[in-house]
Each structure stands twice: as structure tokens, then as C-alpha cells.
Amino acid sequence: MGKQWGSAMRAAEQAGCVVSASRAGRPEAGPWSCSGVILSRSPGLVLCHGGIFVPYLRAGSEVLTTAGAAFLPGDSCSDDLRLHVQWAPTAAGPGGGAERGRPGLCTPQC
């Protein structure tokens, strides 16, 4: 089974990212965060879950269940929304490259 996952694991890790949403000037409110998928690195394009945007919707979460609502433009959320995306270094990017032999996990301070 291990063999079949090799390249899928690498592809999945290259595409994975984490997204966090907070309110400008009010870091204590939130942050809300979720996982995401990198669609393109340059230009940067990510798809993530919509649940973290609910607290910022100008018209409240009811707008999500309005009949026929299939999409909402970017300005549906308040102006003080701040978004950040973080992803792992790419194998090809600066500071990337495979460093074999180093232990995979470290114990950073959370």
C-alpha cells in the first residue's frame, strides 16, 4: 500500500495550505481558519472552505441559503476582513529541496 501512495502524498502536500481570517484591528475576535488547496502558485490562487467567512458576511449567513444563490462576489464580506495563507516550502522553491536523513518532525513552540 505504501508504494501506491508515494507520489500521491507528495502531490497532496504540495497542494495543501492553511487559510486564516481575522478582523483588522481586532485580533482578539477570531481568527477563524481552515484548510485549502493551492490551485496555482504564480499567480497565487487558493480554494478553501467558506465556513470561516460567515462572521464577515455583510448580510449574515442567511444569504448562503437564499434560493438560487450559487456564488457571492468578493465584496460580500466586510472591509475589515484580513486573510492569510500559508503553505509548505515547495521541493523546487527557495529553501526547498529534499534534505534526506533529517528527522521529519521537530518540536517547535506552538
Partner: protein, 444 residues
Amino acid sequence: AGLEPGPPAPSRGRPLQPRLPAELLLLLSCPAFWAHFARLFGDEAAEQWRFSSAAPDDEVSEEEEADQLRALGWFALLGVRLGQEEVEEERGPVVAVSPLGAVAKGAPLLVCGSPFGAFCPDIFLNTLSCGVLSNVAGPLLLTDARCLPGTEGGGVFTARPAGSLVALVAAPLCWKAGEWVGFTLLCAAAPLFRAARDALRRLRPSAAALAALMPPEVGVPWGLPLRDSGPLWAAAAVLVECGTVWGSGVAVAPRLVVTCRHVSPREAARVLVRSTTPKSVAIWGRVVFATRESCPYDIAVVSLEEDLDDVPIPVPAEHFHEGGWHARDAADHVCCAQRLQWGTPLLQPLRKPPWSWISQSITDSKANRGWKGIITSNTRDNNTGATYPHLNFSIPITVLQPALQQYSQTQDLGGLRELDCAAEPVRVVWRLQRPLAEAPRSKL
């Protein structure tokens, strides 16, 4: 995460990329996902379902819960403002997408998400968990890969073609009447990207260029019927309904089905048995035997009024060896085709058996094909109320086979009646309690 220890992923051990600012371009949902969701979970039983990331007894207001449910099938497209370093990284799509229906039910899946979101990305970023595609209802998919809160939006990938994006996590935890069901709700990626392209073109002309950046679909073209073939043996898993309770059963002969006693406890009770493969049939039957309430072998035997035509009868296994890593490569994968025997109507209208891939956690991974046994109960922690669907009490088929064969050939219930006299060690395991060293003394 239940995966083979393989070569460390290249990104581990090096500092993460700095956080990059981003802007919301679009919030989008997949209408077909909602249509299936409403059909499956929208009826009167809906209030028993929760897809919240909080445990049932966490303090979550009804309003928050309603917000989470409304946002369940919504996803966000973000533009990321890159620094100079990132601009130099490679261009082009990072992923390819599997068309809807291209992945067969039961196929292995890999989920890549970050439990607890941005809480501690050094440790949890891109955590991997594998499972199978357990069930399909249009773009609403189920997997038994274990997902935690924070993995919403994480990608779900195939092993073949390697790393093709199948879906995104919509709800990592599903609760039914306070019990964690152990499946994760996914939204298929292909219909989502089609919705995104459509929305971007309608939003404003300048956004059309973004539509071209949506990842391409690779593999079986769109429009083929959903592949629900699965292996033939899964057809032996039937649905047994006794009044308002229902659960799984296994066809052991054209007119004989074994199910759990807690599904149809009363001998002589009438039950309805449904099978969907090779064709949808519903046949009445009668319970000819059920073990006693106190018996650890929680089984019942149903005799049908008609044949279950063309349903493959599983071949019982004969040997069991405790599993181990060294056996893995030679091991056969053990799969479980079950209708959730605890009576939850998950995907009820479809009534197709959801799959779970439990080869790592079953007690035997020896290279022996055949029907291993029956899962009769999940483990429940009475202190916390949590149920662990991946930790089951199962009855090996070697315990049941002689008695079933005797009854099937001679209608003699003698062998089945002996099951009521299960040995003490079996009782201890079933109760998960050690026998008391000495009988409790009276307090009188």
C-alpha cells in the same frame, strides 16, 4: 494517520513559508451538492444530524450551529498576494482534477488537511489520512478517512492517477443522534470548479482570465454514469428492516440471511430484506433464530420467502492470523461493506452499502481471501458517550459457519442454539470488563 512509513515528505523539517496576505475573490457553492444534501438530510430526521465541528455537548449556540450548516457546502476562491520569492516559483496548475464519477466506490483516497487550521501549522499543516470512497450521491461523497476539525476545505486525492484532486472536505465530523458516525462529508471537486468557472465569467469580464486558471479535469470524461461497481462480494451485504429498525445483513444462501439480533430480536418476526445488486429487490422473510439478549454473539438468522437471485454467496474464510506490518505487502486488504447496522439512515434513499477500509485495524491481515465475519457492535465509552465506529466487536465466521451450514441443509436449529452458551472469555471481551476477582459482597 494510518499510512505506510514512507520517505519523509520533502517539506518536513524546514520552516514554513511566511504567511501571505490574500483577498476573497468569490464565495461559491455547488447547486447539485446542495440538492443531494437536502434530499438526503432534509427530511423529518434532519434534526438528528449534526455536521458541526463541535462535540454534541460543547457549548455552541444554535445560531452558530445554523451558521455552520448554512456554510457547509460553500467554498472560497482567494487571490494570494505573492512576495518576490514566490513569484519566481513554478507557474501553472498545481493539481489536476478527477471528473465526477471517475473514481470507483471503494477506491483508496488520501485526505490532506490541517487539523485545527492555523492553530499549530508547524505540526499539523498538511496532515495526511487515508481511507476509501465509501459512498456516492452525486457530488456528495463520503469517505472513512479520519478527519478532524480544521480540515474543512482540505483536498482529497486519488492514488491512481497519483494526486488527482477528487473532492474537498465539507464536514469532517458527522453526528447522528449524538453519535459520531465516523464518515467525512466531501464535495466533489469537478462540479465545484465548473461552478467557479461559470461564476467568474458572469461576475466580470476581467475575472474570465481567472476562469482559465481553474485546474483541468484529467481522466474519464464527464457524463459517464457514476461507477458504483465495486467488487462482487459487496453485493452480499443486504439491508434488513424490522419495523422502524434497520441494519446490515449477509446473504449466506439464496434464502438465508444472517443479521444482528439487535436489528431483529424476536424469533418469528417478519422482516424485509433489500438488495441493490445485481438488481433492486425487496423480499419478505421471517426470523427463525435470534440469540439471547445476554449472548455476546449478537446474531439472528432470517429465512426468506423467495430466492435472492444472482446474489453472490460469500466464501467463508478458514484461517485467522493476527496482522502485522511484515505481512502487509502480502496481505489482502480487508474491507467492510455495511449498512450502518446501528440504524442510522445514512444515505437512506440510496440504500447502497457504504464501504470502509479497515485493513489496518482488523485483527487479521493474513493473505486469506474470503468472508471474515460479521461486525456486530461498535465500541462505546459510556463515560463520554463517544462511539468509536473503527473499533468493533466482530464475530469470526468460523464460529457461525458450522451452525449456519447445519441449519441451511437440515433446518435443524441445534447448532445455532449452542451459540447461546458462549464461553466466559468471549463474554469478557464482549463486555470489555474483567471478570471480578471475587463476587461483590452484600452491603446488608
